[in-house]
């Protein structure tokens, strides 16, 4: 009864503690001349501090403020995003989906963890959790309740499962009483969760 079906997995060779496992792999790859530790620092710096939901918020605020820009983002966003330096890895094919009085959009990747990195950065832990991936396609309203979001029964919930390289970003509804605000002030209302669809834009700052 030998004959393994799948081969045994290389990762089983590595230390059990994940901290040591990462360190071991890094050290090996650095010693083989394949990885520059400074490049790792630079990647981390990029996603820890430079690229994050503030990028998406800027786009959403501009869509709220500028009808021509909004039309462009809804019809052919990639040239504009390139111009704004918001193109890049995991954001090569953006689609903006607008919430309205009758439609609420929410984004997931049930098969892994696809997410629009150039606009939202790296996804939070819960977005990558089994519970979110398993449940939100089947019971989005129950999931939204856990995020404190209640929707009217006659609002249609659209759950976008990111199964290809297309990345979806939710354009939340503009909060009331924000007519006079600058794009910068509006952007402060656009939370990360509102662009995933698990929240609304903030009524107050």
């Amino acid at each position: 009864m030998a004959m393994p079906h799948d081969h045994s997995h290389p990762q089983t060779e590595l230390p059990a503690d994940p901290v040591l496992r990462v360190k071991a792999l890094e050290t090996l790859l650095v010693n083989k001349g394949l990885v520059d530790p400074a490049a790792l620092d630079e990647i981390i710096e990029t996603y820890a501090h430079k690229v994050g939901p503030q990028n998406g918020a800027k786009v959403v605020a501009k869509m709220w403020s500028d009808p021509g820009f909004r039309d462009a983002m809804l019809t052919d966003p990639m040239p504009v995003l390139r111009d704004m330096d918001l193109y890049g890895r995991q954001g090569e094919h953006m689609v903006f989906v607008e919430n309205t009085d009758t439609v609420h959009n929410i984004v997931v990747c049930t098969l892994c963890s696809c997410y629009p990195w150039p606009l939202l950065g790296i996804p939070p832990g819960w977005y990558k959790s089994d519970a979110y991936r398993a449940r939100v396609v089947r019971e989005p309203r129950a999931v939204l309740q856990e995020f404190g979001v209640s929707l009217p029964e006659d609002t249609v919930v659209r759950v976008w499962d990111s199964t290809a390289e297309t990345r979806y970003l939710v354009v939340p509804q503009r909060p009331a009483h924000t007519e006079g605000l600058s794009e910068e002030d509006l952007a402060a209302r656009v939370t990360r969760d509102s662009m995933i669809g698990t929240g609304f834009a903030a009524e107050t700052v």
Partner: protein, 223 residues
């Protein structure tokens, strides 16, 4: 289900842990992400290969591992399978010399450009779109790879066999079922397909709610 990563619609997972809101809850999470991107920059695999490597973790490992443990597991798999690292090097953590790929090493000064360059998945194709917005389509009955036994696919099980409506045509994109296995890009028309909750679930919260998936033309037939 083809593999345990294909969990959409599964029961039993409990509440979503709102407290797990961090991008990098631990320093090593960030390091694991960066290491995966830097290793990917060596050009020895593509995004479909790397997704499949994570999916091929055993069900026990996939289920017990935290997110970035899966990434590390997948990375170790890819490094050995592509010969970038030998199994012995991995076991001993002792390099058998500098790699021939060392000249492709991603340098710190090139990180910004590499991330900004991205890796678009649209490709020219001689396959023309069979469907247009508003067409009713039926999804393949089984969520499996028809090219390779046990291979990668992006059709989730929960939607297999369902009927939906084309809502967006995305152009022609790399077919992951082919690309993940070194069988070429095999680009073909890609669509967003909306399926009513009532057509997916025995007990939908609201029958008019929808799930929308991006699906390749070969996953679809006219309904």
């Amino acid at each position: 289900m083809s593999r345990v990563h294909d969990m959409g619609g599964r029961f039993g997972d409990g509440a979503i842990k709102g407290e797990d809101d961090a991008v990098f809850a631990e320093d090593w999470h960030a390091r694991a992400l960066a290491l995966t991107l830097a290793a990917g920059a060596l050009g020895q695999w593509n995004i479909d290969t790397s997704r499949h490597a994570r999916e091929r973790l055993s069900p026990k490992d996939y289920t017990r591992f935290s997110y970035y443990e899966k990434w590390m597991g997948g990375l170790a798999e890819l490094l050995v399978e592509t010969g970038v690292v030998t199994r012995n090097e991995l076991a001993t953590l002792t390099p058998e010399g500098v790699s021939d790929l060392a000249e492709r090493k991603l340098l710190a000064e090139n990180v910004a450009a590499a991330l900004a360059a991205g890796g678009p998945a649209d490709r020219p194709s001689d396959k023309t779109p069979d469907f247009q917005r508003g067409d009713r389509v039926k999804l393949r009955a089984r969520a499996g790879n028809v090219l390779v036994r046990g291979g990668h696919t992006r059709l989730p099980s929960y939607a297999a066999g369902a009927v939906g409506e084309i809502v967006i045509y995305h152009g022609t994109h790399v077919l992951p079922d082919s690309s993940a296995h070194g069988l070429g890009d095999a680009a073909e028309p890609l669509y967003a397909v909306a399926i009513k909750a009532a057509d997916l679930w025995d007990h939908p919260e609201n029958p008019n709610d929808e799930v929308i998936l991006d699906l390749w033309q070969s996953y679809l037939e006219r309904a």
